[in-house]
């Protein structure tokens, strides 16, 4: 059973998040402030923590510092107001954590929690493989069942990210953050057009499709059955 500790001082937001995560089978423990949150983190040993940036008393980032001092490596998703995003918050992604600016869609939160739960493959690997799909990170070429796939640099990064996170729902905003390196929620059409190009190269006629579009949510790369 996957456990999540949520530290959020706004009861209404906390309720929404708890309800949504609960619907998806997570056990959510809620704390309204940093001290309570740290205590809950120590007692429940969660798999992921969701921490509001602005908390009464201790700041959300200070909570993370306290956790890390205790050698707790639990991945953290920080919720921040737009004006409170600073370099430290922006740097969370580099450290294996993540952040979302308010307001956010609950589906977005869910997808990111799932991504945090599934740590990606060792970043230093030389090649990635998902089913018949292979990606050589040194030679920078791709093939499916021996068929070479010609990719533009951006398409290569897109495919690499999807292969590192195969079987996971990747929202458009996540793809955008990772592949284009901008925190931006693009118009759905826009990412779809880029994804369409990649898809036509990866899934050609007669092959079982590997990239699927989850309506209104994002994309998943799966090995064919």
């Amino acid at each position: 059973m996957t456990k999540i500790v949520l530290i959020e001082d706004d009861a209404e937001t906390a309720q929404d998040i708890c309800a949504e995560l609960g619907d998806h089978g997570y056990v959510v423990v809620w704390a309204a402030d940093g001290i309570g949150g740290l205590e809950k983190a120590r007692t429940t040993k969660p798999d992921v923590m969701i921490i509001d940036r602005m908390l009464p008393g201790i700041d959300g980032l200070a909570v993370i510092d306290a956790l890390r001092r205790d050698n707790v490596r639990t991945p953290v998703l920080v919720l921040s107001a737009l004006g409170a995003v600073n370099d430290r918050v922006k740097g969370l992604r580099a450290g294996g954590d993540d952040y979302l600016t308010k307001p956010f869609a609950v589906l977005e939160l869910l997808a990111r929690v799932e991504a945090l739960l599934r740590r990606p493959a060792e970043p230093s690997t030389k090649a990635l493989r998902v089913g018949p799909l292979e990606l050589d990170l040194l030679e920078r070429n791709a093939s499916r069942s021996g068929r070479a796939i010609e990719l533009l640099p951006r398409e290569f990064r897109l495919l690499e990210y999807m292969m590192r996170h195969s079987e996971q729902l990747l929202t458009r905003a996540m793809l955008f953050e990772e592949v284009w390196n901008y925190k931006f929620v693009p118009d759905s059409n826009l990412v779809d057009v880029h994804m369409g190009r990649l898809r036509r190269k990866v899934d050609i006629a007669g092959e079982a499709p590997m990239i699927s579009n989850i309506r209104g949510e994002g994309f998943v790369l799966r090995a064919p059955d």
């Binding site: 869609a105 284009w180 901008y182 929620v185 693009p186 059409n189 880029h194 209104g216």
Partner: protein, 454 residues
């Protein structure tokens, strides 16, 4: 007006201030007068003491030789009645002179002191405050030599008169002026109160009255008016967004409803129903995305400053946006041209600036008919650093453009312009947050500019 209110009204801060100021001035004048009086009288006293010591020395000296002519002379030469003089026996009985009796407190052969001397003339008698001393003569008799200090009293009188005839009228004048001033500023404050009551009641178009720009009250009013301007813009922005929500949501929601209703009536198979549900979900997704966009605009408008401002290269952002939209444009048979004459580095939030340019390009790509082009230009002159986007689409009519600009800056409650989505509102909000300027320029197609401060 009741008397209590009248007192309140008079006793307002302006009036109090005037009185306090006046009291301070009066105290200063009085102090300096008293100081002048004390110094003068002290000098006069030592001068007089010197004189009477000299005179008495001369009389004592003469008493060893013969007749007291200096004493007689002193008695005679006193037309202005300055010099009380008298001769007494060793036991203090009066012998001659113009002093009625031994002045109380006076002792023989001591330093001069201040005494009241009872003296007389042929047809008068008076108590005369004087500096005086008594000296024993060679034959045992005692001479009293005095000098009236009425000059001192005259100085005191001058001070007193100065206070009464100078300060009092000035005080009354000041009082009258301060009352007048109080009445005037009270009237202005009353005007402002009335105006402020209107504003509080919801009429945000009202401004505080201003007479001339030198008055401190006017300066305050100007500041308040500036604040009101900003509040009005914000409030009307919110109201405008309220209108937009209703307008933008009605269409997709109505479409979902019609679709679901039709499916319920006509669907012949589970697949038909699934199709209808999928269409319904995507319609609702569209509605949700509008709500999210609105919430985001509000978030940006409410954010005062961003914690993570950085040096951002606009050239890089523009090239990356162009690359991002390239496949989308290609599908529509459009060309995106990027003209970067000089890179522009601005202080800002990289993600939001990307979003701004992306929104403008998105808008252009959506509304430009196939075969057209979208031009992105970055230019920098000595006076201006500018990003300009123009397309070959239908653009906006002159009157619509005015309304759009008003909607962003003066926030007129103009109708939501058809075809111009929330994208431009978001652009305006982000540009405003950064302190840049956003303009829609009159041109063939849609042309807009963002000016960065140099």
């Amino acid at each position: 007006m009741s008397s209590a209110r009248l007192i309140d009204w008079i006793w307002n801060s302006t009036f109090r201030y005037t009185v306090a100021l006046f009291a301070a001035i009066a105290a200063t004048i009085m102090l300096s007068l008293v100081f002048a009086y004390v110094t003068t009288s002290r000098e006069l006293v030592s001068l007089l003491d010197g004189l009477i010591i000299q005179e008495s020395d001369a009389i004592v000296a003469q008493s060893t030789e013969g007749p007291l002519t200096i004493y007689e002379e002193r008695l005679r030469q006193d037309p202005r009645r300055y010099k009380p003089t008298g001769l007494f026996s060793a036991s203090g009985e009066r012998i001659s002179g113009n002093i009625v009796e031994w002045p109380a407190g006076l002792e023989v052969d001591r330093a001069p002191i201040q005494v009241n001397i009872d003296r007389f003339g042929p047809d008068w008698r008076m108590i005369q405050p004087s500096r005086a001393l008594a000296r024993r003569l060679a034959d045992g008799r005692i001479v009293v030599v005095g000098w009236s200090t009425k000059d001192n009293e005259q100085t005191a009188l001058v001070v007193e008169r100065g206070l009464i005839f100078g300060l009092l009228p000035a005080f009354l004048l000041g009082l009258a002026a301060s009352l007048l001033f109080a009445v005037r500023s009270q009237r202005r404050i009353r005007e402002m109160q009335l105006r402020a009551a209107d504003i509080v009641a919801g009429d945000l178009t009202q401004r505080l009255p201003i007479r001339n720009s030198e008055d401190p009250l006017d300066k305050l009013a100007l500041i308040v008016n500036g604040m009101l301007e900003e509040i009005q813009t914000l409030v009307e922005n919110l109201a405008g967004i309220g209108d937009d929500i209703a307008h933008d949501l009605r269409t997709p929601l109505a479409r979902v409803r019609i679709g679901l209703e039709r499916a319920r009536r006509t669907a012949g198979s589970v697949d038909d129903l699934h199709g209808a549900i999928d269409r319904g979900i995507s319609g609702l997704d569209h509605a949700i995305s509008i709500v999210n966009a609105l919430l985001r605009i509000r978030e940006i408008e409410q954010t005062r400053r961003l914690a993570a401002f950085d040096d951002v290269s606009m050239a890089e952002i523009i090239e990356e946006v162009a690359e991002l939209y390239e496949p989308f444009a290609e599908e529509k048979n459009l060309t995106i041209n990027v003209g970067v004459k000089a890179d522009i580095i601005v202080r800002g939030d990289r993600d939001l600036l990307f979003e701004t340019i992306a929104n403008l390009v998105d808008n252009a790509v959506k509304f430009t008919p196939p075969g057209g082009s979208v031009d992105l230009l970055l230019s920098s002159t000595e006076t201006e650093r500018l990003f300009r986007i123009s397309d070959t689409g239908p653009g906006v009519a002159d009157n619509e453009r005015d309304l759009l600009v008003q909607r962003f800056y003066r926030s007129d409650r103009s109708r939501h312009t058809k075809g111009i989505g929330l994208g431009l509102t978001l652009v305006a909000a982000i540009v405003r947050l950064h302190g840049f300027r956003f303009d829609i320029v009159p041109a063939e197609g849609f042309t807009a500019e963002i000016a960065f401060p140099s």
